[in-house]
Symmetry: C2
Subunit: 488 residues, 2 copies
């Protein structure tokens, strides 16, 4: 049964499993004790730290093990901010950071700190110049992921690190998604990562703080992990995490596997828009993680799509609003300004067989078709071709059109229709917009009243895909009013 | 090779090992996901929470899993203090709490909070009346361990919980040492524990917060573990922890094993003072943990003792000053006012064979004798019998006396000697005191100048064991001056 959600958590790597089993016998004692079991544990801990530091590209005494990647991010941010308190309390981060960074930022703001958010382009990438321009005298810390966890886009960490260095501001890199595939280049100051993302066991994160970085650990401390992570460590898992990271990086397997997965992802990036009408593949097609691809399907709700894919045996993730507890689209897709409905993230675990990807490509078109059909959106020829992500070939996939029965909630004059989609959830406002656009003449407008958060993202995205003009939104009594001018 | 340090960390219980292996296959996915691997993980997490809650004696929705017992203590204390901020900022704890509690208390004080410490008696127990007397209108939280980790003494948690309840102050119980052996009785409000103490894997603690307890989690939050423990959980370890706790408590094994270990500990408590001269067995002989016993050996340094026991194949712990990184005796022994030199803690893991204990009893006398001999303290008849802990039979063990060569650094008049032990480490100041006491007439005094922290504890303890009178200490240019009157 293909599991395609490695970016959430990867199944245990065989090397990790083997190392964990051995460590349960050899590495269970307290490495702080001087008797033989403790000395053995200390040797294993030291070796794990050396292996992890080598994979990270830092000195062993710069690296500590934490109970999770989130813990590493939280303690890294709080320690770096505290260490720079005299300089200022401004935290700068990209708009597409992992939630653990955003939660730490929110906490910092609640405690009186200030935040600056650096925007991203449509591929999800920040520009190093934008970071440089946002640096201010009171900037205490910059946080930037090495690659995005939802769309796979790599960030220009090296260039940003250079800019930070020039401004004498530390850079914390959240390397959770990219560390399995290689060290993070450049002069970063702090780095956080998470073992279960690379097939290590859960319960292990790592935090590297390069020498010379001001760092003041927050919260109670003890003598463990250089005073940065109190409490009895999880040594068997640490040993397994280091062993599997080393195995992933080994010359004979790591790069080959990365290249193999990259080819499989390229196949998905090319074939999905050919096989499924009205799909937007998002994220950078080249400067990206090897194993991850994300696309969104017009006129589809993510929840049904995930459910149907699960029934078909595929475990995937989604950034659609209907799949989140807050009923808002993923902040990553929002920051990129791309379609959020029918969103699917595929992240292939190490060793994913080619056939699993082929099977997915065989199943997906019918799954999307059936979800659309249930929503009253049959396949058919459409006025415009589906928008293609840069780098993928122009596809000849059929497009889809909602059935032409005009929704009841339409008012206004023939050239200026108003569509009341209040109370309707994604993707219905967009589906109803598609149904009524043909009712106004070219040059006429449709104003959509909607209170679903996804509409703010998906109506402009639909306009771009269908080559209509998005005129903007204005406040309304409930939700907002989104104005569209028919252009084709 | 007998490992006698279960109170530090216990080897993995066979049930935990089996459950961990199964969970690595079945419980590795994210329980927050809706696909089949996630749903299966959710079921396993829910079942683990129910099992743990049953063992703790709380509702499943009152219990969260943390990355360690220390994490549980730290987040329990900070959350409870924040929840009671309007009431006051006073934290009350016993003098013999685990370092994790003391570290959290220190942090609270550094942030402007206040602390009250409740003393213990010579067995290491607090009196419920003392806690009640220390409760004040601004007391935000009381912390009390269920049983002491160094000497095994059980605390009167139920009585203290009653007093706290009357005063409407929450009680946090650190149950790390006792939870393997049974639920903590009484109306506590919060409870923390650690899986690796009961043979579960490391990386799992648990925090129970009973309904109605004001609790405000500190630090960044996410949607995991009721918003109390952010980050991806360590599900395989959680499953293994819950399985092994349930196994330990099972009627057919748990109580029987506790009773068996209790008998083995009783054997150590009785036999060690019979076999080894001048030993003080500390901690309550009856109201104690089943598997733990601590004793101190006069005229012995803990470091050599641990080293020789390790060479003989026994892994034990010590609260002697020379075995700590700070060169101070354990705060527990200090608070109890008992001898700290030559301190040994034995804590028997589940399943310890009887023969291992017998072998230890066979080896110990020669180990102590050899360490004493190296320090110039041969065995011989002495003026007074070794002091016996209450409950152990009066033993006829030979006592030891330091060789009578008077140390050089003695000055003063014949009836009022001054012994300069400055710069000398435990147990040397006490050994030299024992050498010179015979030089003054009965009724005469010896003043010991010492700057080793252990002297403050061990000179009075030696006086009690040898039935001399301890006259107290006064400040000196370096260290302190300890005054002893010869009585026998």
């Amino acid at each position: 049964m293909p599991y395609f959600d490695a970016a959430a958590t990867a199944p245990l790597h065989p090397v990790a499993r083997e190392a964990l089993l051995a460590a349960l016998d050899e590495g269970w004692a307290d490495p702080a004790r001087l008797y033989r079991e403790g000395r053995r544990a200390r040797l294993l801990l030291d070796a794990a730290r050396e292996a992890a530091a080598e994979a990270v590209g830092c000195r062993p005494d710069e690296l500590v093990f934490t109970p999770s990647g989130t813990y590493a991010v939280h303690s890294g941010i709080s320690g770096a901010l505290a260490g720079r308190r005299r300089v200022g309390r401004r935290l700068l981060h990209s708009a597409v950071e992992h939630s653990s960074v955003l939660h730490a930022a929110a906490r910092h703001e609640a405690a009186g700190g200030t935040l600056s958010e650096v925007p991203v382009d449509r591929t999800g990438r920040v520009a190093a110049e934008d970071v440089a321009a946002a640096l201010r005298p009171d900037t205490a810390l910059v946080c930037l992921q090495s690659a995005n966890h939802e769309v796979g886009t790599e960030q220009p960490v090296e260039a940003v690190a250079d800019r930070c260095r020039e401004a004498d501001v530390p850079l914390l890199v959240d390397a959770a998604q990219s560390l399995p595939w290689g060290p993070v280049p450049g002069g970063w100051s702090l780095l956080a990562a998470s073992a279960h993302k690379w097939g290590g066991p859960p319960g292990v994160g790592l935090l590297a703080v390069r020498k010379g970085t001001r760092f003041s650990p927050q919260g109670p401390q003890d003598e463990r992990e250089s005073g940065r992570v109190p409490g009895f460590g999880n040594l068997p898992a640490v040993i397994a995490a280091a062993a599997s990271l080393r195995a992933l990086r080994a010359a004979e397997s790591g790069p080959d596997e990365a290249a193999r997965l990259r080819r499989l992802v390229d196949r998905i990036r090319v074939r999905v828009p050919e096989l499924v009408p009205d799909v937007e593949v998002v994220g950078d097609p080249v400067r990206r993680l090897p194993h991850l691809v994300t696309f969104s399907c017009l006129y589809v709700d993510g929840e049904s799509l995930l459910h149907e894919l699960d029934r078909a045996g595929f475990s995937v993730s989604s950034g659609s609003s209907c799949t989140s507890s807050t009923l808002t689209p993923s902040h990553v897709l929002r920051a990129m300004g791309v379609l959020s409905e029918g969103n699917v993230r595929i992240s292939l675990p190490y060793g994913t067989p080619e056939e699993a990807v082929d099977r997915f490509l065989a199943v997906l078109p019918e799954v999307v078709r059936s979800v659309r059909e249930r929503l009253g959106v049959p396949a058919g020829p459409a006025a415009s071709a589906a928008r293609q992500a840069p780098g993928s070939p122009t596809a000849a996939a059929e497009t889809v059109t909602p059935e032409s029965s005009v929704p009841e909630a339409v008012t206004g004059s023939p050239g200026e229709l108003v569509l009341d989609a209040l109370g309707k959830r994604c993707p219905l406002p967009v589906i109803e917009l598609a149904k009524v656009i043909g009712e106004v003449p070219v040059g006429g407008t449709v104003t959509v009243l909607a209170d679903d958060e996804a509409a703010r993202l998906d109506i402009p995205a639909w306009c771009a895909m269908r080559e209509h003009e998005y005129l903007g939104e204005r406040a309304a009594e409930r939700g907002a009013a989104y104005m569209v001018r028919r252009r084709v």
